[in-house]
Symmetry: C2
Subunit: 254 residues, 2 copies
DNA sequence: ATGCACCCTTAACCCATGTTAAGGCGCGAC
DNA sequence: GTCGCGCCTTAACATGGGTTAAGGGTGCAT
């Protein structure tokens, strides 16, 4: 059973069994967090790379007027701070959205693995560049998409990313966050997010209850959101073994 | 005379003379572009890394309704596509904003340099991570800052980045773009951008004429924009060689 | 069982920004 | 010269999304 981290990296780079074992063994320990707790504070210099195993976390910044902007969702398989390889202290905070389990990999250990394996080096690059691509897409959404498309687009992305780590079944995914947190993500007010969610519900596009999001009409939602998963760069390379599922929401739910 | 690329990298990593020479020699040729021309099209797989030497360029995406979002400004010293190391085809386009000179470094050459020099590897990581940090800050601005602060913040960033490559003198920098392009950058309309520029002018903060931007009251502008340059990670390392944070644990700061 | 905290929902009103449209200036082409 | 074309500017009007405020559900702590 691969950790979601490995599962994710295999979407970008072909990792040998040895590489996979090395990564698995590099995890020094696990920590669990309640919802809404800081994992890494702004200004810290973490000595380990944090990888989400279960639950949702996020990158965020606070503004002087007390508002918050969430800049990334960290889903199972995502690393929180690949940055350490080179940048100084964290310029933003990382917190859980829901109760989470986090794996810790000592920086030195990961650095050594990367030195010893070209594939692992590539994998870390790939993960970083995909993070950046997602960030760019979010920026486009904030700058040029109206609220409803912005949220619809985010939902499509969520399904695609969770599918890539095997956590989406038939168009249903976890979404264990509040409307306020969604608002902080898409740069809106929780009041307005609520309006939009109602609208998407009324259009029969989604159901979102008790932390579970159901996409009822995936194609309609993608069309509406103008969603093209290319930016996620989820194209599992030809592999000597084991094929993982590819792109986003094709099937209609039961 | 160091190229702006090297000048920029030295803000993050200490490069030996040999490393600097190697980078300079890796440039296979230069190309010049008029303003408003594509350098790299979406979907391309460039075989060289493009580095801006003179002029301004940008990353952008077009939306189906014909609007454009600019996602990054590429200033002298910035690389356009460090991505190539790992991602597939470009998921966005790169175009000039003003007439520009671009240096080309064959992917293979840069890859070899990176393999041979830890400092160069680090430098490329650093540049990538700084790009990402800038992207995050832009996202925060789009999500949570009103138009006037957003533009003011961008101007502060511009001065800081150009200062880092020696292209700012006494608060005066080049800004060879149109108001429409600024609007596409900050996610506003050109009409509204015009209103804000007038306002900043009337407040005696800036003058922007004929492609030159003057910051008249830098402190006032920074305060107004809530600008903190920490996210640019511009802290030139001590100039003796191979100083690098060796990643071990540190106590938690405030 | 009561009360409190958190979250979702709704409504009325307001404002920042978008839209549309028109005029002016500067500059290169002819 | 003068025509045309970017680009900047301004104005009148429209609207998406913000603000404020209130009510209701649920679950947990006492």
């Amino acid at each position: 059973m691969p950790t979601p981290f490995i599962r994710k990296l295999k979407n970008g780079v072909d990792l040998s069994e040895a590489d996979q074992d090395a990564l698995r063994n590099a995890v020094s320990r696990r920590r669990t967090f309640e919802a809404h707790q800081d994992i890494i504070a702004e200004g810290e210099r973490p000595s380990d790379v944090h990888v989400v195993l279960e639950g949702f976390a996020c990158r965020y910044k606070l503004l002087p007027d007390g508002t918050r902007q969430i800049m990334a969702w960290l889903l199972p398989g995502d690393a929180c701070d690949l940055n350490v390889f080179g940048l100084g202290p964290m310029d933003h905070g990382i917190a859980t959205l829901s109760a989470s389990t986090i794996a810790l990999i000592p920086n030195a250990a990961l650095e050594r693995l990367s030195k010893d394996s070209v594939a692992i080096t590539r994998a870390l690059w790939w993960a970083t560049l995909v993070d950046e691509a997602i960030l760019r897409e979010w920026l486009v959404a904030m700058g040029r998409r109206p609220a409803d498309q912005r949220i619809a687009h985010l939902f499509c992305e969520l399904v695609a990313r969770l599918t890539a780590v095997g956590l989406a079944e038939g168009g249903t995914v976890e979404l264990p966050i509040t409307q306020v947190e969604l608002a902080d993500t898409v740069g809106l007010t929780s009041v307005h997010v609520n309006r939009i969610i109602q609208q998407l519900r009324d259009q029969g596009m989604i159901v979102w209850r008790e932390g579970m999001l159901d996409i009822l009409r995936p194609q309609a939602l993608q069309d509406f959101a103008d969603f093209d998963p290319a930016y996620l760069h989820l194209t599992p390379p030809p592999s000597t073994h084991d094929r993982a599922t590819s792109a986003a929401g094709e099937k209609t739910p039961a």
